[in-house]
Symmetry: C2
Subunit: 346 residues, 2 copies
Amino acid sequence: MVKVAVDAMGGDNAPSEIVKGAVEAVKERKDISVVLVGNQPIVEEELAKYQYPKEQIEIRHASEVILTEEPPVNAIRSKKDSSIVVSMKMVKAGEADAFVSAGSSGAILVGGQVIVGRNKGVERPPLAPLIPTEKGVSLLIDCGANVDARPSHLVQFAKMGSIYMEHVVGIKNPTVAIVNIGAEEEKGNALVKETFPLLKECKDINFIGSIEAREIPHGGADVVVCEAFVGNVILKLYEGVGATLLSKVKEGMMSSLRSKIGALLVKPALKATLKSFDASRYGGAPLLGLKGLVVKTHGNSTANEVRNSILQCVTFKEQAINEKIRESLAAETAVSGEAGHQEGTV
Amino acid sequence: MVKVAVDAMGGDNAPSEIVKGAVEAVKERKDISVVLVGNQPIVEEELAKYQYPKEQIEIRHASEVILTEEPPVNAIRSKKDSSIVVSMKMVKAGEADAFVSAGSSGAILVGGQVIVGRNKGVERPPLAPLIPTEKGVSLLIDCGANVDARPSHLVQFAKMGSIYMEHVVGIKNPTVAIVNIGAEEEKGNALVKETFPLLKECKDINFIGSIEAREIPHGGADVVVCEAFVGNVILKLYEGVGATLLSKVKEGMMSSLRSKIGALLVKPALKATLKSFDASRYGGAPLLGLKGLVVKTHGNSTANEVRNSILQCVTFKEQAINEKIRESLAAETAVSGEAGHQEGTV
């Protein structure tokens, strides 16, 4: 049995889509139980709309909500009875195996580090979403809020990402590449140039060198390593270019009577193909390297993405990903001073 | 009369598409003359295929070609009779107003700085392509090879980009934003945090704050400022996501008989709409801040892009962009030591 705490109050579509996603998840698998964390009367009212196996969903009351625009460190410190803090404490105490939230990214990243806590040896927990490619999916690691990374962080991202892709997504010996502005080893900024030889030396990953941004959507590598600023730009541009192009396609199809008739004929086939390029199919982004599993889903998540994010937690637990990460990084030495400092700030 | 030196040997489709683009450009405007620089017999043979006003095209022989994979600094130093070096010397000597090339980016960037030379006050010449957006085009500045920029570089990019958008593209009082991972001023990496207040203080630009990558395709700012590593990632991901999505759309349309019939009806309208999202319509990327105009077009440029890049040079000269950049940066003080060092390396 995998027990997942779900932030019923987080995200643009909370609580309705969150509760719906939770119901869909427990209906699909008998081995999942969900704790909906949030304002009890509100969550109860939502939940009353559905038929579902009662023993698989419970509600844990939390009186506060952390808003997206709140400074994360302050919010985690002051809102002790928020759905995020209550859920994270459940993970920390072992009352839940995982936590899924569509709420404030900043609060989730801070709370993950200061409440759930980092696994021994992990310098910085990366946020690692799966992104759609022509070949399937790639893991983009790191898209978190910790910018200005050091080479040692990127090496850990490569290791953690490889473990995730191999054991959660099921890709044997996943290829790893570092985002760069050219294919040659001597290209890049200072961070990439310092990191490249360290990745080359790593024996436990399948490092294939640099990847140019153009090759990411083609599926040029299974694990795409970068620091968080670049990762954030890649993730958001993926969404932006995709949305703009699809609206252009629709606009084109609606521009004449002839094309409108064509659009009716094309629509079902097109929908099926484009679905494979829809990020929400792949669930949320795990914050890797913590003592428990924390999954961040899109702020605008609908029930489908919430459902997928909850289901994802099962594989994560079954495959004992945290233990594998701990083992993989065990060979390494001390936790950096900076990381220790971050923990001290709250 | 605007005289444009064109690299007849550079790019994947040289010399055929380059020569064709030059012919199309001179047929369109009487006030352009083109010097095709490259291997004389080869260029002559290509040119013989076309009817065109003979007085508007001449050939300048250059016996060597710089290949994309050659280290740029070495190539510029050793291949004195290459089409790139010969053309750049023509610009330097005032024998040509501008140089257009689809050849090695690295060699063009190095040659631009060491042969054509920087305008007084310019610390680093940025490569600034126009990218298509929902609203029209935005200028992405910098996408060059000079990574690890300093805040003062980004401020100059913002000024040069504003001048270009206002006087070449014709957008009054263009909006300027810095690429960031959130909309708030306190977000960002060290470079962005240092640059943000400097941009806010600039009186001669219309700075509107941060832009998240998601908003770039929606046309969130006219001038999108970033350092070259991030700019390169944005430019190449734009191409990559676009190509992947369009191939998915085609695949979807070809997947059943019904959708194939629909595709025939939809095609003309779709083509027209998607054309507005085609980067090649907008010509090449100028390398701003040099003593002459240097324009880099895509390596895979076809005649249409070459033609547009040549036509672009007319507005650039007419509007006296270099003079405007010089005036705008005149208030500033010393040229940086690093930039001086770069000039000394060749």
